[in-house]
Amino acid sequence: MPSLPSLVDHLFRHEASRLVARLTRAFGAEHLQLAEDVVQEALLTALRSWPYRGVPDDPAAWLWRVARNKALDVLRRDASWRQRAGAVARTLEPPRGGPHSGDVATLLDDELALVFLCCHPALPRDAQVALTLKTAAGFGTSEIARAFLETEPTVAQRLVRAKRKLRDQTEPFEIPAGEELAARLDSVLEVLYLVFNEGYATHRGEEPVRADLCGEALRLVELLTRLTRTAEPRVHALAALFCFQAARLPARAASPGEVLVLDEQDRSLWDRELIRRGLHHFECSARGAELTPYHLQAEIASCHALAESLEETDWARICAAYDVLLGMAPSPVVAVNRAAALVRGQGLEQGLKAMEELRTDPALQGYGPYWTAWGEMLGRAGDPVAAREALSRALVLAEGPPLRRRLEQRLRDLG
């Protein structure tokens, strides 16, 4: 029996965001909610029709045609559009050469304008994150809530408030230009960084949803790299970082419900294609004089991604990158990672020294990974009593059963 391929993964999610982008372009940024409503109607029409008639040959074109007709209905039906109806309808005309994909450049502009709108500086950070996921990435409210361990009404409230605020901005639906672009771009990158890290963090929330967060952050940052105006070196650096990190996700997924530290991962499961893409972005990130924390994090991640084993890793280069990173953006969390790298690069002694210096840092008192790393190092240094004390502290702070199980095992091993 012939077996046709299933629908492209996340087709609806990605088409939803593209359709919202195109309709928001037509209606205007202040009518984001209307664009979303029209798109949801189009998706539900597909849900009612496709089970019977089968999936159309070009699903994206089908969805665009239906969404466009529904948008034209709104223009006809709603008297408040009368004055602008003609102009709006013209922007909904199918571009030459194809009903949907014909004008790739315009579509990219629209998609990116939508990302910038979602990360608008008038919105608080958590609203930027939620709106980016909902609108630019096509997540459902319940999916966002699951990913961030929040309740659905909380997320829904946040989205309503964010859209209300945007409506009052009367912002043009454009990719920011001139002097404004740099700051707005940073804001977008920070949001995508947060989204990716939320997905990448071990032991939080449900696995599949979290892998999707990484996938969407990567997709959106790569969209930014495709447009000359936004393809800044730091954008490529962030794309490289995401690629290198995401390449390791399959190794992690191979043992669901377990926390795998780097030296336990089966490196043959790392995604070579993502590593290759990461290297390409990393190369592009070196064009220009800009050196950002994203560059250094990408460099560190590249050392891991390229190493055949833990022993063959370029620890000297990793330690050097951490030193620069720490000077550029001081953070106790980065300091902990640096100390862990020092153990490999310069020996246990140096690592212990660096960790000791951090022990009274107020920011680290409630930071579990510090106490885990500290405990592991003390164990290796032959001080089981102090090691047990540190790991017990890590256990109290541990989030999620997999990590707790792991720490309990370590404590048993120490006797």
Binding site: M1, S3, L4, H10, R48, V55, F139, G140
Partner: protein, 120 residues
């Protein structure tokens, strides 16, 4: 091979649209797609019937004294369920037709009536 008509009954879509995410919608469509693929060419046709509108025609009066035809609009407004659409399926007999229909995802949303098409 005998042909069967599968009549798919379901609750009419009333009230606000369900809050389904794009991913949820794709998951449902993928289930139907997988079902159809498992049946290959045995499904000859599938059509969705429009939910809005619809008319019912009935001749008034009795057999001996026929009256005029009355047309009722929108027979669905009060209905608890409607005919959502249909499939034409090839099967060796009722048993096989039922067996092939059993895995149709529609059974999670409504019920299916199977009727053999009389070939002359």
């Amino acid at each position: 091979m005998p042909r069967y008509m599968l009549l798919l009954h379901e609750a009419p879509a009333t009230g606000p649209a369900p809050d389904l995410s794009p991913e949820d919608i794709q998951a449902v469509i993928n289930r139907y797609k997988a079902w159809r693929q498992s049946l290959g060419a045995r499904i000859q046709l599938g059509e969705k019937l429009k939910e809005e509108g619809g008319q019912a025609l009935r001749r008034e009066g009795s057999a001996g004294k026929p009256g005029k035809v009355r047309i009722l609009d929108g027979p669905y407004t009060e209905a608890k369920e409607i005919l959502g659409g249909f499939f034409i399926l090839e099967a060796g007999g009722y048993d096989e037709a039922a067996r092939l229909s059993e895995s149709c995802p529609h059974l999670d949303f409504g019920w299916i009536q199977v009727r053999e098409i009389e070939e002359t």
